[in-house]
Amino acid sequence: MSTGAQYVVAAYGVILFGLLMYVVVLGLRTARLAREAELLARLAEREGDPDRPREPAATP
């Protein structure tokens, strides 16, 4: 490959790399969202459980 062509490939490679890095960022954000959703699901399930020991109600 001529040196010119190498530079062209490098330029398009950078763009591709940028796109893929964005996908990684998206993945990380989705992972965080999933974690939080999981946490909230567990919280919600516990709320619905009638046998769960409850904290004594705060006295006014």
């Binding site: 010119g4 530079y7 062209v8 330029a11 950078v14 940028g18 709320e47």
Partner: protein, 231 residues
């Protein structure tokens, strides 16, 4: 009010962008003729310029939604404005990097101060990096208001920066439209257009993805608040 199928719109935009990108790459490398002066290096320009214009479009959208926010005080307008700036910065980074590669290929050095586009995008990066510094310096309503004002002022700075560099250059070298200008044969111009459409599609796709993420984040936060209140 959320639409029933935001995913559907995203799928359409994303698929169209992917198709356009594939078409553009094919066209640029297998159909478009090679430039007489610069040879194969000129092929960098197709996406370099398309992303540059895409970046400016993103900042224009940010400015427009900044104005709309100031009129409506609707949080969603601020959201779109900020997201647009983020995408614009991402594109601008790509412009500077590909521009640097092109400079090395054309002139042998990784950086030149004589190309107005390259210098302008460096300034643009600094301009909009300040946007996020400003944003993090304030909270709530003020954050959105200040961001909107700055998105307008910064967008005014862009042509001023470009022309100041160009005017300075023009006194040293008379400005000539290069082959990346308007006198391009149609066989090249059409693939420029396709690349540009692909980049615009990418902008829209990424914008939708970002807004969806924020929506999910906000909904989760609402659930959290509700659950914590009930506990």
């Amino acid at each position: 009010m959320t639409e029933a199928r935001p995913g559907r719109r995203l799928a359409v935009t994303g698929a169209a962008t992917a198709a356009l990108t594939a078409l553009a790459v094919y066209g640029v490398f297998f159909v478009a003729p090679e430039d007489a002066d610069q040879g194969i290096i000129q092929k960098i320009f197709y996406f370099h310029v398309a992303i540059a214009i895409g970046s400016l479009l993103a900042f224009a959208v940010a400015c427009v939604y900044g104005i709309r926010y100031l009129r409506s005080r609707d949080e969603r307008h601020d959201e779109i404005s900020a997201t647009s700036v983020g995408i614009g910065i991402g594109f601008a980074v790509l412009v500077v990097i590909t521009g640097s590669i092109w400079a090395k290929a054309s002139w042998g050095t990784w950086w030149v101060w004589t190309d107005p586009r390259l210098v302008t995008f460096l300034v643009v990066l600094l301009l909009y990096a300040a946007y996020f510094v400003l944003r993090s310096s304030a909270e709530g309503e003020r954050r959105m208001r200040y961001s909107a004002i700055y998105s307008i002022a910064a967008f005014a700075s862009v042509p001023l920066s470009f022309y100041s560099v160009r005017v300075a250059r023009s006194f040293v070298h008379p400005v000539v439209l290069t082959s990346s200008g308007a006198n391009m044969p149609n066989t090249m111009l059409v693939w420029f257009a396709v690349s540009q459409l692909a980049v615009i599609g990418a902008f829209l796709t990424i914008m939708q993805v970002e807004l969806l993420q924020r929506r999910a984040d906000k909904a989760l936060r609402r659930i959290k608040l509700r659950l914590e209140a009930a506990a």
